[in-house]
């Protein structure tokens, strides 16, 4: 294979002591909320992503139908029901009226069918929508860290970042602009980027790739 047309210049001139280039992309899909469907009731995590998989639902006995009692401890939602008598509508209403439960899930469903007890059961299927990436070993992980926010963690520390830029690759045009939120290459080793609609971090809705090119400096010389 001839390389002649690439070899006019073999050195890149710069004042950066030890430049390190990291370039690549990570495939993103729309984050998905965790869900639990049981006996005609659907619980959907309020927060998109895998964090919803840690929410659990449990029905215990002891309440009177129409006066169900909802208790929330951390991500565990326990509903005291009238076993076999409390209806779908009774339980959905009780959960959605509970302020701490409504922060975690939205319950849906209707009907007069009696509901039976269930043991502690987690929601499932929550997904952060992080696909494969080709950044290489200088990036240790890519994670969704909030609504429309992604955190890239470097494998190593650097003296400073010279440049970090992001672009979106979207087959279907999307009105989102990546904006860097924070960079810490010398301590936390993180780069945080937001997808902005205007000034609002916003989750992507369709398959997209987040393209990054970064020039980091291993040296104090610049």
């Amino acid at each position: 294979m001839t390389m002649q047309r690439y070899t006019r210049s073999q050195f890149l001139g710069s004042t950066i002591g030890q430049p390190v280039l990291i370039a690549g992309k990570v495939a993103l899909t729309a984050p998905v909320a965790a869900v639990l469907v049981d006996q005609g009731i659907t619980y959907t995590a309020v927060a998109l992503g895998s964090s919803g998989n840690s929410i659990t639902i449990e029905y215990t006995d002891g309440a009177v139908a129409g006066s169900e009692v909802v208790t929330v401890v951390g991500n565990a939602i326990s509903v005291q029901i009238d076993d076999g008598v409390s209806s779908i509508t009774n339980i959905v209403t009780a959960v959605n009226l509970s302020v701490p439960a409504a922060l975690l899930v939205t319950a849906s469903g209707a009907g007069v069918t009696g509901v039976n007890l269930i043991a502690v059961t987690p929601l499932a299927g929550g997904d952060n929508g992080i696909g494969s990436n080709n950044f290489g070993e200088l990036i240790s992980s890519v994670a969704r860290s909030g609504v429309g926010e992604y955190t890239l963690t470097l494998s190593d520390k650097y003296y400073q970042e010279q440049y970090v830029g992001f672009k979106l690759l979207a087959a279907t045009a999307v009105d989102l602009i990546p904006q860097v939120k924070s960079i810490s290459v010398s301590s936390a080793k993180t780069i945080v980027v937001n997808m902005l609609a205007g000034a609002t971090p916003t989750d992507i809705l369709a398959d997209t790739s987040l393209v990054m090119d970064a020039v980091l400096n291993l040296s104090t010389i610049r």
Binding site: R8, E161, G165, Q179, V180, S182, V215
Partner: protein, 123 residues
């Protein structure tokens, strides 16, 4: 350090590629407080509402690429756009921060990262 030493060369068709990469630190009053662009840039300053001019220390045959990225701890509806590039005579690169189509000063501390590839050769 092994993983950084796989390639020491850059292949390109540019005669003498030169990389300038760094950031302008922009204060809450929209002025440039400092930059990390290095000695190949002589000045970087606010030259109008939402407008920043980078003046190079030397002339070049061509600007091959000028890329940019805004960093803001609190998300802001500003998008950088290049206004002009003249590396042959004036040695300037002018970038604006746009709100819609209006150059607008940032109202809080932010950073504007630049990645500039120049050609110091006519090849």
């Amino acid at each position: 350090m092994n993983k950084y030493l796989r390639s020491q060369f850059v292949y390109s068709t540019y005669g003498k590629p030169v990389l300038i990469a760094g950031k302008l630190s922009i204060a809450a009053n929209a002025a440039v407080s400092s930059n990390t662009l290095g000695s190949l840039v002589s000045t970087a300053a606010r030259t109008g509402a939402g407008e920043y001019t980078i003046t190079l220390s030397d002339t070049y045959n061509a600007a091959q690429s000028v890329d940019y990225q805004l960093l803001a701890a609190t998300a802001v509806d500003l998008v950088p756009q290049i206004k002009s590039i003249d590396v042959v005579t004036a040695k300037t690169i002018v970038i604006r921060l746009l709100a819609g189509a209006t150059a607008t000063d940032p109202s809080a501390v932010c950073s504007l990262y630049l990645n500039i590839v120049l050609n110091a050769s006519s090849v």
